[in-house]
Symmetry: D2
Amino acid sequence: MRVRYAETDQMGVVYYANYIVWMEVGRVELFRSLGFNYSDMERDDGVLFAVLEVHCRYRFPARYDEEVLIKTWVKSANTRTVSFAYAMSPAGTGRLLAEGETRHIFLGRDMRPTRLPKKYHAAFGLTDGE
Amino acid sequence: MRVRYAETDQMGVVYYANYIVWMEVGRVELFRSLGFNYSDMERDDGVLFAVLEVHCRYRFPARYDEEVLIKTWVKSANTRTVSFAYAMSPAGTGRLLAEGETRHIFLGRDMRPTRLPKKYHAAFGLTDGE
Amino acid sequence: MRVRYAETDQMGVVYYANYIVWMEVGRVELFRSLGFNYSDMERDDGVLFAVLEVHCRYRFPARYDEEVLIKTWVKSANTRTVSFAYAMSPAGTGRLLAEGETRHIFLGRDMRPTRLPKKYHAAFGLTDGE
Amino acid sequence: MRVRYAETDQMGVVYYANYIVWMEVGRVELFRSLGFNYSDMERDDGVLFAVLEVHCRYRFPARYDEEVLIKTWVKSANTRTVSFAYAMSPAGTGRLLAEGETRHIFLGRDMRPTRLPKKYHAAFGLTDGE
């Protein structure tokens, strides 16, 4: 992902809320790599991932036009909630720009808590016993 | 409306797409001053104002923490479309930061063109003959 | 502060990163109520508040056109860093939409850590002994 | 470029100001394909492209997670100003989502109008006679 001019602020670096947007980009690409698509999940299964909590620690400012790699993984999951972790670095370096977590609850179309449909269990590392 | 840090870019001034967001803020406040609320209109009457066109001319850059006044008015309207004009100035000055227009078409809940409900005609300067 | 259309997402509620932008709005207004202006501080004293950490817990989704009150206060401060806390509610209610904290370090124009200038100590509750 | 959740609004489609942000993404990639980098130009040559005017016509709404192709080209240029044109389509289709133009003036570090440095003339189709 390449930093957009729109994402900088007058300090000359990326505005702090944009890292939170990037976490979403990382999440969506993680879903894609797990073999499904958040968009279809929302439309076909009526399952929304509502955010309960976000936490971000800023290590080093990202700059305009820099290529940023967002590493995203499932930190923990059960049939009701899931937590993702994120590490953002300039492409080709091990240097950390920011790292963080988000915690989500599954909601149905009625905006009430629901369980993650079975077909997604494996993708989130849930075994049948859970 | 006060300029947010988030709205600046590394040039030290407001990022150009944010003026387009401000036009929306001006529109909503115009609606409120005309005695209705876009939010209710969307929910109760199922009428959406879909944007067809936007045009903005930038005169002078707005800066962080500046108080900006957005003057908004109906430029022309019929039962199918409406155009708004905007003039943005620092509060208490006549100096122009930016000016522009947007043109909108009325859509129903099915996302197809519709006519503006009669109860809103007067607010948009439409007389019964139209 | 009134919720902008731009701030909603296709879930029909405010996009989660925008609460982080609102924290900044709250911070700036807190500064103003403490008798100074972040903008002047940045320009005249060359002091930047760089964000080290942000944490937000989401309780209830904010909706388009809702008036939101952002209560902001200094949680703790020393001459090197400051933490702010935030509580966001719909105006006129005690209901919580979201709450959170941010932690900041003071940077000079050279982007290196610096101490908060003495003239701001009182505003942040710092006594001379610190 | 893939549409982000952050870029949608409660109409379920991309918020109209985001197409203006995408134009910037198209511009930057055009610069890169012309053999230079806007970031270096700003830093090394002190040349800024300040926006004078933006115009966008919306044809069809873009949706979340859609892959969007931004075709960008120089519409006209002289040593003082440049205009770019844009056409945005879903990847793999000829269907138009939006099209538009931006007009820019070259500014120096002092924020006053300047001429485009000679080394960039060829990239913008300027011949020595101009």
